[in-house]
Amino acid sequence: MSRLIFLIPLLPLIGAIINGFWGKKLSKGLSGLIGCLAVGLSFGLAVYAFFHLKTHPEIETISYVYFDWIKAGKFSAPFSLLLDPLSSLFLLIITGVGFLIHIYSTGYMHDDEGFHKFFAYLNLFVFFMLLLVLGSNYLIMFVGWEGVGLCSYLLIGYWFKNIDYSSAAKKAFVMNRIGDLGFLLGVFLIYITFGSVSYGVVFEQAKSFTSDEGVITCIALLLFVGAVGKSAQLPLYTWLPDAMAGPTPVSALIHAATMVTAGIYMVARSNIIYTLSPTALSVVAVIGIATALFAAIIGLAQNDIKKVLAYSTVSQLGYMFLALGVGAYTSAVFHVATHAFFKALLFLAAGSVIHAMSGEQDIRKMGGLKKALPVTFWVFVIGTVAIAGIPPFAGFFSKDEILAHAFASNKIYWLFALIGSLITAFYMFRLLFLTFYGKFRGTHEQEHHLHESPKSMTIPLIVLAILSTIGGFMGLPEILGGSHALKQFLEPVFANSELNMLPHHISHSTEYILIGLTLLCLAVVIWVAYNQYVRKKDVPPADALIVSPVHKVVYNKFFIDELYANVITKPLNWLSEKTDKYFENGFIDGIVNFTGRSVVGGSRLMRLAQQGNVGFYVFAMVIGIILIFFFTSL
């Protein structure tokens, strides 16, 4: 039975293969059906697996070794899969949300000529993500890790005729690769330290290490570099906003169900290692909180509906890392789940808006869509409320848990996190208001064309909206009368870490105060946003009219992309070109050619010695004789 785990990732792969190779011959309907079915069946299996684990708490993990994948000397990395509560939860998110996105795509992409290709990529994406979470060793995880990078490349650059889009795709891949290198080095160090890359062996042995040993910190940090790349944290986050180049369902998939959560999964999976290294944990926390705040600030000034959402993702991922960094692994995973719901919802809703606006993404040209797109509007509201953290929507529970843990760990974390979440609330409501309230600011043609999206798109939206609404209850905390089902379910995975963690406990009363404070601030912020964008009908100025330098800097994302271009890309190109010209062709090859030329030149000179007069020849001969005698008689 347990060997059948492989079916879960295999089904999407089969879907990808069918659509990839024979998709052209299939009708669009069939193609979409195959794509959705592959993920849907996979989802079914994941549900089955989830309940299997749930009902058999005595089975902590199910794993199966299929074949030796890479084996050399003592190194061995079998192709084996592992199912435990953590991976089964991720399976549900991936396949579940993924399934909805697939269905949505059948509507969204209906007019695209590369329909089958799109589904092939989507399925492949899901496949690699499933592999990532199902692998029972770091190498299989790395396969998925890189695989999703590839799929993100394929999907971001889906409209390949646009060279900017393909550049964005390339950027995503390369940035990811930077992280992947860190990850890979971490894997090497794991192998050197533990003699294996299998989770079982590694975690078992890790227990024997004392806290904060250098090598453990190194491993943790190297792996974290991978996570930074994949989950778009500072300083490797710039690819994610650019990744908006892909079709909107892709963004939803990348941001919600796959890809970016990989970093969280990895850290959560390696929780024992991180727990052993407080240093690494603080790094994780600091990067997380910094990213959360930084991305949120950028999000304030963006006018592209997808960009705003993108920065919100970066920011939310920062929260998750903050949670991981303070040792609240469960909270992080919890936030992954709720974030998956509302972020998928938001993206798909945004997609619906864009669909309606015939591709327009600038919120300055929207407004007043409430009436034209009622379903979209309502789900978008739910999403916004959820991300802002208003009870009882999903985001509230997970985010509040993180804030509480941050508070317990370090008050400064908490403060920044709070500020970040307020900013988030502000720009999300700004987005909501600008898009759906006020008057329509687009062209006449667009206005005429406005329409609600088809069923295939709205149904997933509704499902996601429901999930965003109730999703938080799976982790209903004790103080609110729940039992935190999620925590109990994930208990076996984090058990060892929690033994090692110093318990951060804050009293229930403090927790109530914090919640109250947070909600109060939120209310103020939302009111401010409402005041500015609905009542004052303020619209962000056109790009050229931005005067305030602060605004300019924020609008231009702190010029980080330009910074990277000027500090890394351009100097590297410049250096390579100069190297090519002066060192490669000038120096090394110059030496080689010079040797050749000097020999030829020497030859031209030397032949002159043969000057034709026999007298001279005899003379040379005599000189030779004299020299010989001279030197031998010395």
Binding site: G20, F67, D68, W69, I70, K71, A72, G73, K74, F75, L139, F142, V143, W145, E146, G147, L150, Y153, G157, F160, K161, N162, I163, S166, S167, K170, F173, V174, R177, I178, D180, L181, L184, L185, F188, L189, Y191, I192, L572, N573, L575, S576, E577, T579, D580, E584, N585, I588, D589, V592, G596
Partner: protein
């Protein structure tokens, strides 16, 4: 006997082709190469039964202790397989070209095959050297006669460069030979002779032999012949050079250098590692800025080979196994890439990336296959490149973490130059030269699809390949550990 057949059949076949008509030459050559592939399949079978079946030891020049000693262990077998698999593909890849004097062209390819197989199976130093040099002659003529504009100068440079190395290698071998107890060129005797030398002598011998291999691979800074040669040679020549011939150098290090003078290798390990890793970064950086697609592949090849060499020099099981599989993978990938370059050049008459673009929208099959081969080259997991690169980096990491860090930059840089070139060539809007770009025809598919299948199959299930070379690698590692 089977091994001898593997060596001599291409020779016979070469003459058959040479004396056939120009029209039939390519078909004859292809058939002969396929037959060679079948013989090699037989050899694999025999290898499974008993590797001894594949060895043959007869005196050749007895008074010099030179014997016609051929045998195959896993390492040899793997490279022979690579050779016999790639040669038919290379021949097939030329089907859309019409070469002048085709009979001579294909005959030279088959002669080349003979020499290459010989290099990989020779277990006698002198025999190895002979085949080593023999391999140079056909490729020289292939490049000289069917190459590009500047071919005379460039092929000559290539020839002389490689000859520099090999003559010093000969001196090194003679030196070792003179220190064998029974005056013999037998591999085992040379190992014994090498081990009996002092560390200083070993260093000298090490360098004299290493130069040859370093130039052939090529390792930075002995590489300047390579990009120009790859760019100017006819496509089949480049494929032979990059796909198989540079493996001679790597193979040489494994078989004829490190086990022979272990102390010398240990002495210079750090220097060599630095060179190899510089090569990785340097080759990648220069690949990034190349506008000529073939030169880009050439520089990428320098980077890849640098990594393989680094892995070999770490001399642990992971590094060596990684090197073995990466040699195979690199051979496959680079042949694929050069064939892709050839297809593009043939249709558009340019290999300059900035002049190209948008091919994907007119040739989707081509785009897909190109993508997969490229992924192999950037070592994406589940492609063949990854298995090798991962093991190599594991090996290098055991040598030094920082070395692995720098060597690992290849992952990033390879992604940069490969994706950049893919973007430049395939993506974007079509341009005037690419507008009428026809998708692949049958012959081209017949070359690329097997390559793509190998890329994926080896990536997903490399075990058969790793298993072939594993015992031989273990043995070599133990020799080295005993010596040092």
């Amino acid at each position: 006997m089977l091994t001898a057949l593997l060596i001599f059949w291409p020779l016979v076949a070469g003459f058959l082709v040479l004396f056939s008509s120009n029209e039939n030459a390519r078909k004859t050559a292809f058939a002969c190469a396929i037959l060679e592939l079948l013989i090699a399949a037989g050899a694999v079978f025999a290898f499974r039964q008993n590797p001894e079946l594949l060895s043959l030891d007869r005196w050749w020049i007895q008074s010099f202790g030179i014997s016609f000693n051929i045998a195959m262990d896993g390492i040899s077998l793997l490279l022979v397989l690579l050779t016999v698999v790639l040669i038919p593909l290379i021949i097939l890849s030329t089907f859309d070209h019409s070469y002048k004097n085709a009979a001579a062209f294909y005959a030279l390819i088959l002669f080349m095959e003979m020499a290459l197989v010989g290099v990989f199976v020779a277990m006698d130093g002198f025999l190895f050297y002979i085949f080593w040099e023999l391999a140079l002659i056909p490729i020289y003529f292939i490049c000289l006669l069917w190459g590009g504009k500047d071919r005379v100068r460039i092929t000559f440079k290539f020839f002389l460069y490689t000859l520099v190395g090999s003559l010093f290698m000969l001196v090194g071998f003679i030196y070792l030979y003179l220190h064998t107890p029974g005056r013999s060129f037998n591999l085992a005797d040379l190992y014994a002779a090498g081990a009996s030398l002092s560390a200083v002598e070993q260093s000298w011998v090490f360098w004299s032999i290493f130069i040859a291999f370093a130039i052939k691979m090529p390792v930075f800074p002995f590489h300047t012949w390579q990009p120009a040669t790859y760019a100017e040679s006819p496509n089949a020549g480049t494929m032979l050079l990059a796909g198989i011939m540079l493996k001679m150098g790597l193979y040489g290090v494994i078989r004829w250098l490190i086990p022979v003078v272990p102390a010398g290798a240990a002495e210079w390990l750090d220097v060599i590692m630095v060179l190899c890793i510089i090569g990785v970064v340097y080759g990648s950086c220069l690949a990034i800025i190349q506008k000529d697609f073939r030169k880009l592949i050439a520089y990428s090849s320098i980077a890849h080979v640098g990594l393989i060499a680094a892995g070999i020099f770490t001399w642990n099981a992971q590094g060596l196994q990684g090197a073995m599989i990466q040699m195979v993978s690199h051979g496959i990938n680079v042949v694929g890439l050069f064939f892709i370059a050839d297809i593009i050049t043939r249709r558009t008459n340019t290999r300059m990336i900035p002049e190209l673009g948008g091919i994907r929208s007119v040739a989707p099959v081509f785009a897909t296959l190109f993508m997969i081969v490229m992924l192999g080259a950037v070592a994406l997991p589940f492609t063949n490149g990854f298995v090798g690169e991962f093991l190599l980096l594991t090996g290098v990491y055991q040598y030094h973490a920082v070395a692995a860090g720098f060597a690992g930059l290849t992952m990033i840089l390879a992604a940069v130059y490969m994706f950049r070139s893919y973007q430049g060539v395939m993506l974007g809007e079509t341009k005037s030269v690419t507008r009428a770009f026809a998708d692949l025809n049958f012959n081209e598919k017949a070359v690329l699809i097997p390559i793509v299948i190998m890329v994926i199959v080896i990536g997903v299930y490399p075990k058969p390949i790793l298993d072939i070379s594993a015992p031989a690698v273990e043995k070599l590692v133990s020799i080295y550990q005993m010596a040092n």
